[in-house]
Amino acid sequence: MRTGEIRIEDLGVAYRLYREKVTTLKEAMVNRFRHLRGSEQFWALRHVGLRIQPGEAVALVGHNGSGKSTLLKTIAGVLSPSEGAVDVWGRISPMIELGAGFDAELSGRDNVFLNGALLGFTRRQMESRFDRIVAFSELGDFIDMPVKNYSSGMQARLGFAIAQDVEPEVLIVDEVLAVGDERFQQKCMARIKDFRAAGVTFVFVSHSLGPARELCPRAAVLHHGRLEFDGPIDAAWEKYRELERGPLPGPSLQAGP
């Protein structure tokens, strides 16, 4: 097992769903406890197996609700598998949602340290990175202003600037490049290419072929929680288009144990 490797074996992630609809008094009483039984389960992912070698770049492709984000969150460790296993070797930089955990009341400076601590860094480690982060974010004197006064683009810039400075071995990116102006997007793209060149394992979610093809030779197609295809990106895109043309059953519920 090498640093940067991701191994996903027979992964299933189930969400519990409960209906709020109540018709009888008995149901009204019983329903107060049913949230603990988890009587209805929705498998956002099931029987997904994927191996990503160190330094590989994989795009995750699929319709809304296909399980892409769930898979990404499971790799990042936010969600735990309901069945199967996900093993990731190496330091992950999750760019799932930039600026997650920013406190709007605090200054950009304080948020750099807060965000760093959320990623598991000590204050000293963040201090040595601080100037680089501010330089990358191009926020200048705004760094001492409360984040609530930032524009959404500025918040995203600060978020990306922090996430790009953690020397990741595994980089997970969930369409965060759609924020910020075009020039900053280019800068992010260039930074991600640097990581790619340095041999960082890369998992990327995208709805458009352009950036995905630019960054990833390989793609995995998810369709209603199943892995339908895993291979070269152009073939994957064909498959994705084909699946989208087919009938789209609504998400179905399965009765659980």
Binding site: M1, D87, V88, L106, A117
Partner: protein
């Protein structure tokens, strides 16, 4: 050799800031220790932002309490107990620490759910940082207490050196309770309201307004029942950790200290284990 184990024990891997591979919950928590510090500082910073007196407000609250109690119990309802206000505060300050931390901490996992959905952090940092920030408040409220002691000629004895240990015992117990209830609250929101009511009753069942000695020698059945309740109430052992050095100028009795320490350790271990066990399921119940 198991590759996962190899990755975990290699020295380089120990400083890794982020790994999806989960190390033991304690080590994980230790790695995020500075997050607790940052969260406490954030809490204080946000609370006193643009307030002129800042941290002084934290001290003002107990200060006002002290003045009120001192006036009430020295003029309006005089008691036989010497320096009753010191006696009272010696019990009230640890109680306020405990009760406030529990009530604030109980919702801390829920209020941070947006973060928990997006970032992989050991969720125990949220209740623990609430306990820590209330510990800071407790420490700050000791300043006006000492001031009052000086004013009322209450002797400062060497027993006061025990105060950090006593405070630690109270803090560990409080952490255990807060962890346990913070997790339960995710599954049953009623826990919060239940606790609120329970704490109100517990306040009068704890030796805060009165001392255990005052109940000696009365033999009616309701006093016996009351004493039994006090015997099983953990607070009966925890309150003396602070009050004995402050008011009586002595160390807590050895059996009391032993029970309090044992309660603190057991509660913390139980609370942490249950929390860690239920933690992965929280996200499905937000």
């Amino acid at each position: 050799m198991n590759p996962a184990a190899a990755a975990e024990t290699s020295p380089a891997a120990l400083d890794e800031p982020l790994r999806a591979r989960r190390p033991g919950p304690l080590r994980e928590l230790f790695r995020f220790r500075q997050l607790i510090q940052v969260l406490v500082v954030r809490e204080l910073k946000v609370r006193y932002k643009r307030s002129v007196l800042g941290l002084f407000w934290t001290m003002l609250n107990p200060l006002v309490l002290m003045v009120v109690y001192t006036v009430v119990f020295s003029t309006i309802m005089p008691t036989t107990q010497k320096n009753f206000s010191i006696f009272l505060l010696g019990g009230l300050l640890p109680w306020i620490f405990f009760a406030t931390a529990v009530m604030q901490g109980i919702t801390s996992v829920l209020t941070n759910q947006d973060l928990i959905r997006k970032v992989r952090v050991p969720q125990a940092v949220f209740p623990l940082s609430v306990v820590a920030s209330n510990l800071v408040n407790f420490a700050l409220s000791l300043a006006p207490l000492f001031l009052l002691m000086a004013v009322l000629d209450q002797p400062f004895t060497r027993a006061l050196f025990f105060l950090p240990v006593g405070t630690l015992i109270v803090a560990l117990f409080t952490s255990g309770v807060t962890l346990l209830l913070a997790s339960f609250t995710v599954f049953f929101r009623d826990v919060r309201h239940l606790t609120e009511v329970f704490l109100q009753v517990l306040f009068y069942l704890s030796p805060v307004l009165y001392s255990l000695e005052q109940l000696q020698g009365r033999d009616q059945w309701w006093f016996r029942a009351f004493r039994t309740a006090l015997d099983v109430n953990p607070l009966s052992y925890l309150v003396p950790m602070v009050r004995d050095p402050v008011y009586y100028g002595r160390l807590p009795a050895l059996p009391t200290l032993a029970v309090a320490s044992a309660l603190a350790v057991v509660t913390l271990l139980a609370g942490f284990r249950v929390f860690v066990k239920l933690e992965p399921r929280h996200i499905h119940h937000f």
